[in-house]
């Protein structure tokens, strides 16, 4: 910076001012807002202020460093004395009075001003907070200031000779007292928004103690009390507290000197602050007057005053357009181009204040802020409705998505993005205060991306899925077998499992997921009947959304097991899942599970006959891999969680796909055996080796019965029935389970298992539906967002 020489008084004063402006206590940068307020308080024309800012280099740097600030202050002083602004004048002008800053906000300020005028040579009123004198030594920035400081400190005597008039004046003292007050911070007052509080002369007084100069005695002689009142008002300003904290040391210095003053001033201040609570407060009579004026323009107190009417009205006040524009900016809180009653009162109050000489604040004072509720109602309504509209639109999209966990997770982030987008819109047109500003880097979020990869809960037999299913199905094997399979396969194209499950259809492999899953997948594949009926059609693309992978050729039920499954599903879906089928595409697989039981229900009847065969089936299991799968599935369903099921399922899938009977069969059996084959335990034992689950003998039998419908699968059906029986049992819903077979106990057990399975299936279905719902909602939101994006622009 240009070499700026400051007198000691100036130095102190500027220090205090800087502290005052240094709202963030950075000690390096003065808050631009404050600085601008300060400059405005200097009552200089705007272009002069701009010039000053340019000269001091702040515009170049973009902020006010200490040196810039000091230079600016000096230039203010220069300007106030009427001298042309020149950089040279900084140093050439001697005996420059301290810059004066006027804060005209309330009577007290004017009183204060008067006091000052009377006391000091500086007639200017210094309203605003007196920044506690920063330790002179604390000047960190700006070599100039440092130099200045050093010069100052070295030349204490200069204070008295400083061009600043004040040192001897009362103003300096007031800062002291004021500072005292700061020490008793008028707590609540600090937040008072005072427009452009001018810097106090505190610097001087503060400077004194800090420099431990002889000036102290000078000040002590002053009587602070007279100024207390004025200061009190300033004490309320926020900087006070900040300043206080910043310069406790300096304050202490003056403690001794000012104790008396402080005490009185403190009291005064407190008193004052309470009454001075808000310089911008609207008195009742003022409010009434404003309301009356509002009525003349707009009879409805809940209505708006359009911008044009308000413009005419306020133009009558003969304020310059620029100021009116600023007043409007402050008062139109929701930026809707119209004034509500509250906004109008705020605007009117600002106009009144301005006419009385008060400076306009940078931000709307709290007491003038309109009620947010009103704003929200009026301003946001339109926008919200718009947003809502968007939300609704995406609603339809989702069905196709399979509500799987992963999808859900994926959609949520987009949802968040969407909401952010909404925020953006709202803040544009409505109260920014109600909406957080989202500067997120959310590019116009594409709601479509909300398409989440459906988590194949019941996905196909792929190992991964199987494991997933396993986890999911903990304890709900019974239900799973049917439902997942039923539901899944068709729908979501995304569901890879589907394809795999489809493959399974042939083999009735429950590979999909722990037995239950695979089970369902089988049926699905077999014939993901739209109606949930595992019609053998194989994963018929009925399931709305995703075109189900071409059903395995298994639908022909080459293997008994697979056939069984198909049949069972085809049967059951029809009955039970009919309703489910109707469900939006996304769901299709799910219903199947429910349908599963249905078919099972039917199956029982059919299976009865088969049951007889069941006994033989187990033995046949090893022969038919499909059966194995099936049984495995059943076993799962029956037995519940079976880790091995996964393996088996996987194997099943593999088997099915590969058509490797032997392996799968055995594995399947294991799986199936768990749940199902109690009766067949002996027979299934070999198969169940892997499983070792509880014997599901009873269930298999009944299930088998159901499956019985397929003659060809008889031999296989037996096994299938075993497996499917479990599933069927579950799906079929226990009531339909016929206990015709002789073993009541087993029947009961089977029915229990079936019930459990059904429950599981239904639960899964429910969760899937929930997910779908969420997906739909997300889509809706995203669409709304998109719509919002498009809409505003179209208005332009």
């Amino acid at each position: 910076m240009e070499g700026l020489t400051l007198s000691e008084a100036e130095q102190r004063y500027y220090c205090d001012l800087f502290s005052y402006c240094d709202t963030e206590s950075t000690k390096k940068v003065a808050s631009s807002g404050r600085v601008l307020e300060l400059f405005r308080a200097a009552q200089l024309p705007n272009d002069v202020v701009m010039q000053i800012m340019e000269l001091c280099g702040a515009t170049r740097l973009g902020y006010f460093g200490r040196s810039q600030f000091y230079i600016a202050l000096k230039l203010v002083a220069v300007a106030q004395t009427g001298l042309p602004l020149r950089v040279e004048s900084l140093n050439t002008v001697k005996d420059l009075p301290l810059p004066r800053f006027v804060v005209s906000k309330n009577e007290q300020e004017s009183r204060h001003t008067a006091l000052y005028s009377s006391d000091a040579d500086n007639p200017a009123s210094y309203s605003g907070v007196i920044p506690p004198p920063p330790g002179r030594i604390q000047v960190k920035k700006g070599s100039v200031s440092h130099d200045a400081v050093q010069q100052r400190t070295s030349a204490d005597q200069q204070e008295s000779t400083s061009p600043v008039v004040s040192p001897q004046q009362s103003p300096p003292t007031s800062p002291h007292t004021w500072r005292k007050h700061n020490r008793h911070p008028s707590g609540g007052n600090n937040e008072r928004p005072l427009a452009g509080p001018g810097p106090f002369w505190a610097p001087f007084s503060e400077a004194q103690p800090g420099s431990s100069t002889t000036s102290d005695p000078i000040w002590s002689g002053h009587s602070p009390p007279p100024h207390q009142e004025n200061w009190v008002s300033f004490a309320d300003t926020p900087p006070t507290s900040a300043l206080l904290t910043m310069h406790p040391a300096s304050v202490q210095d003056q403690t001794t000197v000012r104790t008396v003053a402080s005490a009185t001033t403190a009291n005064e201040i407190r008193r004052q602050s309470s009454s001075y609570d808000d310089p911008w407060k609207i008195t009742d009579e003022q409010r009434q007057y404003y309301v009356n004026q509002f009525k003349t323009i707009q009879p409805d107190l809940n209505g708006f005053i359009p911008g044009s009417a308000a413009k005419e009205f306020f133009t009558k006040s003969k304020l310059p357009i620029l100021e009116l524009s600023h007043i409007w900016e402050l008062s139109d809180f929701d930026k809707d181009g119209a004034l509500t009653l509250d906004e109008f009162c705020a605007a009117f109050h600002l106009v009144v204040a301005r006419k009385n000489g008060y400076d306009l604040p940078e931000k709307l004072p709290e007491s003038l802020m309109p009620k947010l509720i009103d704003l929200e109602d009026s301003a946001e309504a339109g926008e919200q409705t718009g947003e809502v509209g968007y939300a609704s639109s995406p609603a339809e999209a989702p069905p196709s998505k399979s509500p799987s966990m992963p999808s859900l997770n994926q959609t949520w982030p987009e949802l968040n993005q969407s909401s952010e987008q909404w925020e953006t819109f709202s803040e544009r047109s409505s109260s920014s205060q109600t909406l957080t500003q989202f500067d997120s880097n959310i590019a116009p979020a594409d709601p479509d991306t909300a398409i989440v990869h459906p988590v194949p809960i019941r996905m196909t037999p792929s190992k991964i899925h199987m494991q997933e299913m396993e986890l999911k199905r903990t304890g709900s094997d019974h239900a799973n077998p049917t439902s997942p399979l039923l539901v899944k396969p068709p729908d979501l194209p995304e569901e890879n499992k589907m394809s795999s499950s489809v493959k399974f259809t042939a083999g009735n492999t429950v590979n999909g997921y722990s037995s239950s899953d695979s089970y369902t997948s089988d049926p699905e594949q077999i014939g993901s009947t739209v109606t949930r009926q595992r019609s053998h059609s194989g994963t018929s693309p009925d399931n709305t959304a995703p075109p189900p992978p071409p059903p395995r050729p298994h639908q022909s039920h080459s293997r008994s097991s697979s056939l069984d499954m198909n049949r069972s599903f085809s049967v059951t879906p029809g009955q039970q899942q009919a309703g489910v089928v109707a469900y939006p595409p996304a769901v299709p697989p799910r219903p199947q599970p429910s349908q599963g039981p249905g078919p099972h229900v039917h199956r029982p009847v059919d299976a009865e006959g088969l049951i007889a065969h069941t006994s033989t089936s187990p033995q046949q299991i090893p022969e038919q891999p499909n059966f194995a799968d099936f049984s495995q599935f059943e076993a799962f369903a029956v037995s519940g969680v079976n880790k091995e099921e996964e393996d088996e399922i996987e194997t099943h899938s593999e088997v099915l796909q590969v058509e490797k009977p032997s392996d799968s069969a055995s594995s399947l059996r294991v799986a199936k055996a768990d749940g199902r084959v109690e009766d067949k335990a002996p027979a299934n034992v070999p198969t169940n080796a892997g499983k070792g689950t509880t014997p599901l003998a009873p269930p298999p039998k009944p299930i088998r019965r159901r499956l019985k419908s397929e003659d060809e699968l008889r031999p296989e059906a037996e096994e299938h029935t075993q497996k499917t029986g479990v599933i069927a049992a579950v799906l079929a819903s226990q009531p339909s389970i016929p206990r015709s077979v002789g073993k009541d106990k087993k029947a009961i057990q089977a029915s229990i298992r079936r019930n459990k399975e059904t429950n599981t299936v239904l639960a899964r279905l429910n969760s899937e539906l929930q997910q779908q719902l969420k997906d739909v909602l997300e889509e809706r939101i995203s669409l709304e967002v998109q719509l919002e994006q498009l809409r505003p622009f179209s208005h332009l």
Partner: protein, 139 residues
């Protein structure tokens, strides 16, 4: 982050222009002026019938050795031009977009002010503050 921000009216005269380093102000003015040609070129290239589909954010207009110029145009042909320092490598496209969005929002707020005549220079303090916040980070 930006070193210069300008709002250009439809008739290609500046409504608001502000830059940080005061000594290079004229240079930035010149840069913004020349960038208008690029803006027009981009607008016309979009196609006549696709006004609605035209994206408001134009992206990088052209880079120079020291800085990059980004453009944004509203549906009413009011252009925002932003000059950012090339050394600011951390600036991502999304951030630029968000800055333009903020600018657009503030501009809309100004428009809502009945005391503002479209076509006048912008003297709003709120707008100034917003621009300052975007520019101050450079230093």
């Amino acid at each position: 982050m930006a070193v210069c921000i300008a709002v250009i009216a439809k008739e290609n005269y500046p409504l608001y222009i502000r830059s940080i380093p005061t000594e290079n102000e004229l240079k930035f003015h010149y840069t913004v002026h020349t960038s208008l040609d690029v803006v027009d070129e981009k607008i016309s290239a979009m196609g006549k019938a696709l006004v609605d589909q035209r994206e408001l954010y134009l992206g990088l207009l052209y880079p120079t050795e020291d800085y990059k110029v980004y453009g944004y145009v509203t549906n009413s042909k009011v252009k925002f031009v932003m000059v950012v320092d090339s050394s600011n490598t951390a600036l991502r496209d999304n951030e630029i977009r968000s800055m333009f969005r903020k600018l657009h929002n503030s501009y809309t707020d100004i428009m809502c002010n009945p005391f503002y005549n479209p076509g006048d220079r912008i003297h709003s303090r709120a707008f100034d503050n917003m621009v300052t916040s975007m520019m101050m980070q450079v230093c």
